[in-house]
């Protein structure tokens, strides 16, 4: 089986020498004329190719990338198969905008609301970045459920992909945890009372409920460190877990491959097939 060539853009690939030309740049030209100097474009191509080659020689990344990016997909693969990637890009957008919001946000009960409204009203493009983060969270939730629906209705959770379904369910729960912990951070009336109710909902679980609520609130009442705890969960603990699990999720997708849509039947094995 012939694998595709390494994922090097066409512009960077070495072109074969013209007939009559010596292979290397700088070698004596045709008819024994003076050596042709490599053009700037040749040098750029050569430089980029050698950088990629240097990295590839030391990491052995190209067989992996080739297998990952050029893997075979079944017939009938369609736009619904992009919902998982769409969810991942929503997560990446949340991660990037979240990092920038963290540069201005102060997780302190007396400063949180002020700093959040400062982001919206004073910081250059702050309203835009905060809006991306706020609406992006909704987009991510919608996409992740559409993705789950696709996997469910296409039967893509079946053997041998059950483990990937389980990882996906954990990812959904973690995404909802992100929604819950992020909701407190603007620290206005809405987020405060929503969090009070959400934590009390946790408390209504038998046996572990009251302890879970105490863990989230840092004590028996909503206190000064509740917001810092939510902030730490929101920007460190849960995103780290999500990123790690997305890695595992993708690894299994590449390892096991994707499934054909259920409306495609397997090709019948014809004992005699007429070749035209």
């Amino acid at each position: 089986m012939k694998l595709p060539s390494p994922p090097l853009p066409r512009a960077l690939r070495r072109s074969p020498p013209r007939p009559g030309e010596n292979g290397r740049n700088g070698a004596p030209g045709r008819n024994g004329g003076p050596a042709t100097k490599p053009t700037a474009k040749d040098q750029a191509v050569e430089g980029a190719a050698s950088v990629v080659g240097w990295l590839d020689e030391r990491t052995g990344a190209s067989p992996f990338l080739r297998g990952f990016l050029y893997r075979k997909v079944p017939k009938g693969t369609n736009w619904y198969y992009t919902l998982g990637s769409a969810t991942m890009f929503a997560f990446l957008s949340q991660a990037v905008t979240g990092v920038f919001l963290a540069m201005y946000y102060e997780p302190d009960p007396t400063r949180a609301y002020e700093s959040a409204s400062r982001i919206t009203n004073e910081v250059f493009l702050g309203e835009f970045v905060r809006g991306m983060h706020k609406w992006g969270s909704t987009v991510m939730i919608i996409l992740i459920f559409l993705h789950m629906g696709r996997v469910f209705f296409f039967g893509a959770y079946k053997y041998p992909r059950e483990l990937n379904w389980v990882i996906g369910v954990v990812l959904i729960v973690l995404t909802l945890v992100m929604g819950l912990t992020g909701y407190l951070l603007p620290f206005d009336q809405r987020s405060f009372w929503a969090t009070v109710v959400a934590v009390n909902l946790n408390s209504s679980g038998p046996i572990v409920g009251p302890y879970l609520a105490d863990f989230l609130r840092v004590g028996s009442e909503f206190g000064p460190t509740t917001i810092t705890r939510f902030y730490a969960l929101h920007m460190l603990a849960v995103p780290g877990l999500i990123a790690a699990l997305i890695g595992a999720h993708l690894y299994l997708v590449a390892k096991l491959g994707t499934t054909a849509p259920p409306w495609l039947k397997a090709e019948k094995k014809d004992l005699l097939r007429e070749e035209v």
Binding site: T110, F192, V196, V197, N200, P210, D214, G219, S220, G223
Partner: protein, 221 residues
């Protein structure tokens, strides 16, 4: 017969007896097995060395008293009567600023209504506005003499007992005392449907019947 293969006993105490190549005489554990065990144990100890303190740090507040034990002034005794509730604002946790502020409904203890055997007597009845369903703030409607929750329709009578909706127990109260003619409010406590006193619980935690065993009290209370 001297060349016949040796019989090895898999359960032998000695590696030599188990037929492991390169075994020393009297050796019971192979070097490889010993190094494996040492590496795993060292890794485990190193992980526990940071994981256990970290976990304790995160879970510590479950096992300690986190609400400051303060008495807060609500005003002179003349402001309150046995018949009507007066609204006052106190701060449940002054360290979080305005967010800690909460309303209490206060009236004078009425022996005819409030006294019964087994109940803790307080000079004043200070009812918390934290709904016993999920913690939304309830409001007292003077005309109907009921506490009503805006979130999910919980209704309480004028003593804070549940009359309807999802709440699982009466409204919490606060300890009260009178110092130099001024009413002060202290720690929260919860009540069951008989208005018997319990340590403070979260909203949604039952205090009656078998349900109460599903909701253990905090370790510190």
């Amino acid at each position: 017969m001297a060349d016949s293969p040796k019989k090895f006993d898999k359960k032998s105490r000695y590696t030599e007896g188990r037929g492991i190549a390169g075994a020393w005489e009297g050796e019971t554990v192979t070097r490889r097995r010993l190094m494996e065990g040492t590496a795993l144990a060292a890794g485990g100890i190193a992980t526990m060395a940071f994981a256990l303190p970290g976990l304790g740090f995160a879970l510590g507040p479950l096992f300690e008293e986190t609400v400051p034990d303060t008495w807060q002034d609500l005003g002179p005794e003349d402001d309150f009567s046995t018949t009507a509730y007066v609204q006052r604002v106190h701060n449940i946790d002054p360290k979080i600023g305005d967010a800690g502020k909460a309303t209490v409904y206060v009236r004078k203890w009425d022996p005819e209504v409030d006294s019964a055997p087994g109940k803790s007597e307080q000079p004043y009845v200070a009812i918390s506005t934290r709904c016993a369903h999920l913690g939304c703030p309830v409001r007292y409607i003077q005309a109907s003499q009921k506490f009503v929750c805006p979130c999910h329709g919980g209704v309480y009578d004028s003593q804070g007992k549940v009359e309807g909706g999802p709440p699982v127990r009466p409204l919490d109260r606060f300890e009260t005392r009178v110092v130099e003619g001024r009413v002060e409010v202290g720690q929260r406590f919860s009540l069951n449907s008989e208005l018997e006193r319990f340590p403070p619980r979260d909203p949604s935690n039952h205090l009656d019947g078998l349900w109460k065993y599903l909701y253990p009290p905090r370790p510190t209370t």
